[in-house]
Amino acid sequence: MVSVSIIGGSGYGGGELLRLLLGHPQVEVRQVTSRSHLGEYVYQVHPNLRKRTQLKFIDPEQVEPVDVLFLALPHGQAQLKIDQYAALAPKIIDLSADFRLKDMALYEKWYGQPHAAPGWPAKFVYGLPELHRAEMAAANYISGVGCNATASNLALLPLVKAGLIDLDAPVIIEIKVGSSESGAEGNAGSNHAERANVIRTFSAYGHRHTAEVIQELGLSDVSLTMTAVDLVRGAMATAHARVKPGVANKDLWKAYRAVANENPFVRVVKEQRGIYRVPEPKIVAGSNYADIGFELDESNGHVISMCAIDNLMKGAAGTAVQCLNLMLGWDESAGLDFAGLHPS
């Protein structure tokens, strides 16, 4: 058994990691931290874990050496103590944005301040297996992924990989998200009576995850428009692009099918009958799947590419566990077998 600990275990990302790691056949969870729930049983915060574990939250300063350390802290925290964390474990998987961007100028542009540990990002593999699977076997440090970035990157991956779109043409990505994206802290706008029933475009352009789409896919003119809807889990990206002249429906089919065939957690959803014809976040909630689909308007080359994920799974903890599996040479799907629910 490989020993792991989680720093930031009372949050949504950390709690989901805990759920997955407790059920992972090759892993033993040693310690989980929370400063605000110190001494409480983890199931008092994550009630789904009752009867699953008797672990209690400990102080982050009490974490002991371990095989793999997971970090699930708010943005900006991990970079402050990365040397201390690295001393605790030979391998680290971080969920935050701190080590995702490799170009420190890009980081500063999108995050508004210089990085506190600029030497570290380069040591981290960007944690999306669909883009960096091969590098992960040899990695010691893997970064997390932005949930909206992941929905965007996977929506566009077939188009980019097969060269069906021009990387310099404008791409508009409309993303609809649930409330768990903003973490366990909450704010005035997340009070239920204000947040329920919303269709709220809280960020028209300029969302930080845009930087990850630029870095990973090489697009030069891309924007993310973020709209909150009344859902807890889920991120749905609808990307609008124009295919190169001559690209037809069959070419898209080939490109999407190829990505789904190479990646165990990517599925193409494009049906002609029934209720579920397109990717939908509710179908993947709790699972590690990314469902992708597309529609092409052959009259003008406008392609609408979709990707539905659970922001806490494929968009965070699920992908992190998938990275763990790849880093340790295990079955890529170990611990990630939940199929999702229908109806839900």
Binding site: K250, W253, R257, V268, K270, E271, Q272, R273, I275
Partner: protein
């Protein structure tokens, strides 16, 4: 074993041995209905699909 190519998505589809002309098969990839219009070699073409009310 008879295989055909879906006219919609170009998936390779394996037909069962007892397939008959006129039979409708569903493409396992893209879900369109295909009508078997010939055998040896097998040929399929898009079959008309009823547009059910869906979504909104």
């Amino acid at each position: 074993m008879n295989t055909v190519t879906c006219t919609e998505c170009e998936a390779e589809i394996t037909l069962t041995d007892n397939v008959e002309v006129g039979e409708i098969i569903v493409c396992p990839e893209c879900g369109v209905d295909l009508e078997v219009t010939g055998l040896n070699p097998a040929v399929v073409q898009l079959a008309p699909m009823e547009q059910e009310d869906w979504g909104e």
